[in-house]
Symmetry: C2
Subunit: 200 residues, 2 copies
């Protein structure tokens, strides 16, 4: 079971991206050619893709994939569970030696994309995170992100780069505050034909 976790600092993300198009498979194969995943351990099956490594590269890779799919103008959904505090292993821990430089940031920065996201934070192992999280939420607001409470989550509307920066900060600060196992789920919608209207 996933809740038995150790103290390794390896971060990971289990995610899926869904372009709502008959051409979904082709779109994803094209995007994979554009995103540099060399700094993360990566495994894909028919349900989710998992990346593991340093926090910066987990966010760098997942943001880049989302942005490249967004750029096709197809309506797409992205669902991710970020986790830190689960035990590493020899296959994954190798990637902890990678340098801090984010391989996809330059290419990602060239893409401007608004998104709607809902995120939830599950600090499984204690920590004094509330103040730091509120600080990060305020920082996002001051950078133009609209923050709205929702059932079981917090909604963020705004620029993809600003939202991802905020989410990475929330995740890092929770971990730094002493939570021995931190989980954050994020659901994103881009290019929605029914922005803020009713669609499942």
């Amino acid at each position: 079971m996933d809740q038995v976790c150790g103290t390794s600092k390896i971060a990971g993300c289990s995610f899926s991206i869904h372009p709502m198009s008959d051409e979904f498979a082709g779109i994803i194969l094209e995007i994979l050619k554009k995103v540099d995943t060399s700094k993360v351990w990566l495994d894909t099956d028919d349900v989710t893709t998992t990346v593991r490594g340093r926090v910066e590269h987990i966010f760098d890779v997942t943001k880049a994939i989302l942005l490249h799919v967004s750029k096709t103008n197809v309506h797409a959904a992205f669902h991710a569970t970020y986790s830190i505090g689960c035990p590493g292993d020899s296959a994954g821990d190798t990637y902890m030696a990678e340098s801090l430089h984010r391989r996809n940031e330059d290419a990602s920065r060239s893409i401007t994309q608004p998104l709607a996201a809902k995120f939830s934070l599950y600090p499984m192992g204690g920590g004094s995170y509330m103040d730091t999280i509120y600080k990060q939420i305020e920082a996002m607001k001051s950078k133009g992100i609209q923050v709205t409470p929702a059932h079981y989550s917090t909604r963020l509307d705004g620029d993809t780069h600003t939202v991802f920066e905020g989410l990475e900060n929330v995740f890092r600060e929770t971990e730094a505050s002493g939570s021995s196992h931190t989980v954050m789920t994020v659901s994103v919608s881009v290019n929605s034909p029914s922005s803020k209207e009713s669609i499942l």
Copy 2:
């Protein structure tokens, strides 16, 4: 923030379903006509749909929506976060008075659908749940579900009804064991053209 939770017994699920088709909107509107949501509080926006009420109806409605979408034979993804232990409110608590009869079960039972699912359990409020969960996992195995460990989750392959029954039992047993706030995430893939092969 979502982690500040009380002791109400109202359950809820924030979910999305994504038919990978140019016709995604039409498919969803058709399915909504076929699923009876009268026993749950329901709210939909462009990112997720939230249903709240009694545990049985939360699972009844989400399973029915997944099955009806599956029946179209379109490749679809379903992502859900089930939660219990967050405070209710007057709008939601009204639905706690509904009877136990599952409005969609008869129609759902007529649909046979294999799925691949990954689930994670986050018992935020203690509880002695490990033994009961292992028991539920064993029960699923004995009914033909293939159970595989995965990073950050447990993978289940098999019949939709059996998997959902197992997930509902895991969720209920964790809550019953004393967890004051229980969260369970579920990612599902149906009608995948690349079953168990590499696609994001």
